[in-house]
Amino acid sequence: MSYAYLFKYIIIGDTGVGKSCLLLQFTDKRFQPVHDLTIGVEFGARMITIDGKQIKLQIWDTAGQEAFRSITRSYYRGAAGALLVYDITRRDTFNHLTTWLEDARQHSNSNMVIMLIGNKSDLESRREVKKEEGEAFAREHGLIFMETSAKTAANVEEAFINTAKEIYEKIQEGVFDINNEANGIKIGPQHSPTNTSLPLSGSGSSQGGGCC
């Protein structure tokens, strides 16, 4: 399918917070009650529309265990957006956010949009982290924030799409240099027949063509 832009996302956060479930809910619109664990990295992709333009999201879903942190660091390269996920029923996962954020800031493009996600909002009775705490953390660090439930799909769509909107706005403002693929943004194949970097023609607003 043709697209105007391709954004690379990376999903990070402690193990077991529901990163893979969020991805599955977003790409396949389903929740898997039998959980699987991610070793290394897994992938997802979906097309969305923003401002009438087709945008392809290429999502890297990483392993959460700390042992793999050094490997995860190499995946930040070229990411335009990051979803930093914690589990509202496990305070530990919220406490580790600072480390994750440091890592993300250090190894990614400085313009990378980071969305903070408090997942498992359906488990209200087991909540350990108040929504206000998440909001405060996000405000303090300049992140967008949302509470989601990969199980009920609440806010999942919004989390991915709002991140894309933010990236899109940054492109419009000229903050992102879309010529530089290290920013995690590619222009659709029509503009870039060889799939490599290309001279920017106009605003890049025309629809992409060709096949991905």
Binding site: T38, F43, A45, A63, E66, S70
Partner: protein, 575 residues
Amino acid sequence: MLADAVNAGVDFGCNKNEPKQNGCDVSKVDIQSSCKVPKTKNGIVFPINELVNPTIDAVLNQVPLIYDPITKQLLLQSEFDELRLNSERNGCTKNLVLIDDHPKEKEFIHERKLDENGTQIVSNNDNLDVNNKDVVEKTQIDVDAPQNETSSNVFDDSDIESSPLPFLSSVYKPKKSSLSATFASASYSLSSSLHNVLNRLKKKNGINNETFATSTTALILENRPPHLPAKSIDEEVKHKHEYEEMVKEAKRKEAKDAKTLRKITNKRKKEEDRVIELIKVWQKDLLPNWSQVKNTKKVHDIWWVGIPPSIREKVWKLAIGNDLNLTHELYEICVSRSREKVWTFLTSEGESVADVIKLDVSRTFPHLGLFQENGPYHETLSQLLGAYVCYRPDISYVQGMSFLAGMLLLNMEVSDAFICLANLLNNQILMSFYRVDPTFMNAYYSTYQVFFRENLPLLYKHFADQQLTPDLYLMDWVYSLFSRSLPLDVSTHVWDLILRDGEEFIFRVALGILDMYKDILIKFDFINLAQYLTKLPDEIDSQSLFTSVAAIKMVVGNEKLTFNQVLSSFINSKV
């Protein structure tokens, strides 16, 4: 069920030889009065209270039942006898119509009229009850049917005589063949009345007091109803011929099915014999002389097809060995120490080891339901992993280990699994990956790339063009030794051979997977490749994978460098 078997009205129409204008003699069987067993509205009542301390067995023993092999139903002795008596009284079993006590039946049948299109009009009979509606539907079929169809029934007399229960065969067999013949002859348009009958046939076990038409053979052979002109001889001959063809076709199909079944059975038998033979060879020739024969070609060939499950445990333990000289006692010590310590361990970042193990045990082979909470191996696996953390706190628990440990637990006792896990993780490749040692990991990736380019040059170039680096899909395969990504039977077979050939077989399987899917992979872009390889199709079978794996050469260049030689050169250049 009992009442239903009797009440299902059967209209066999006329005997073939009877003059048509005589029509069918509609007779009645009154079920209520014919039953000796007292009945209530809801069914039959048995004198249970005559029994002292009635039990279900005792009650059932008192009920006189007859098994009807044709309908595969149980019949009450009394109902069975009454039914036969009635049919004999009628003098013509084939003309039997069983109608629930309804005196208007005869008139009703005669009251039906035809309009000029041949469509049936049923006079508005106030006496119509549920049972009569059934009759309406029956008669509608007769009329909706094309000219050459009749409601009367041809019965092959020899058929009746040869049946062990001639009466039952005439009563019940038609019910079955009527439906199949309806489909087989395909002469009826699927009119609403046919739909009704078919629906009712489906529901028949649940409905009492039913009455509907049946036939003994294909409807195509039936005579016409009395009010229609008889078939011409030509037509009858033609129909007979068509019917014979149908029977022949059915027999042919039966024979073919039987042949297929025989083939499958033979194949299975052969496979079983092969495995039995293999087990003998393993047990008699190989295992007793393991250290001498383990590297011979004969053993390697027999190993290639996979180790028979019953001796897998033995071979795995021998192949993994115990260089670390671990004992079962050590396992016990580690378990008891882990109870005190592991569950309070934290990693440098404050991650609780216990939390991660707890999370992962439930996520190990999730589809098996063995390791999940409340599963039979949940505790065992947690304990085993906890013991390993105590044994090697420097490595601790790393995601992926639960799959290795789980795989071992599926094949051996927990203390043996502990010894095997520790020795397995002590291998260079697993140790360097589980320690996340970038130098060694990259050396392995680079070596893999050399063999990738050698074996699949086109795909190698395509991957390079798409910027798909091997670490993205190899990590999972190495960490879990394919047990997370391949079906269990396939990954078990892969493990058999990894234990034969060592680490290079991991990369040979990786290339085998790429080879197996090369035609699809060559068309994919980065994201499709990455998605496909990190989530392989479910239906991979061992045979096709191993065919691909067999084709992968594990020597490169003119110098015929082995995997280890290439690997050493990369390690030496980095270290």
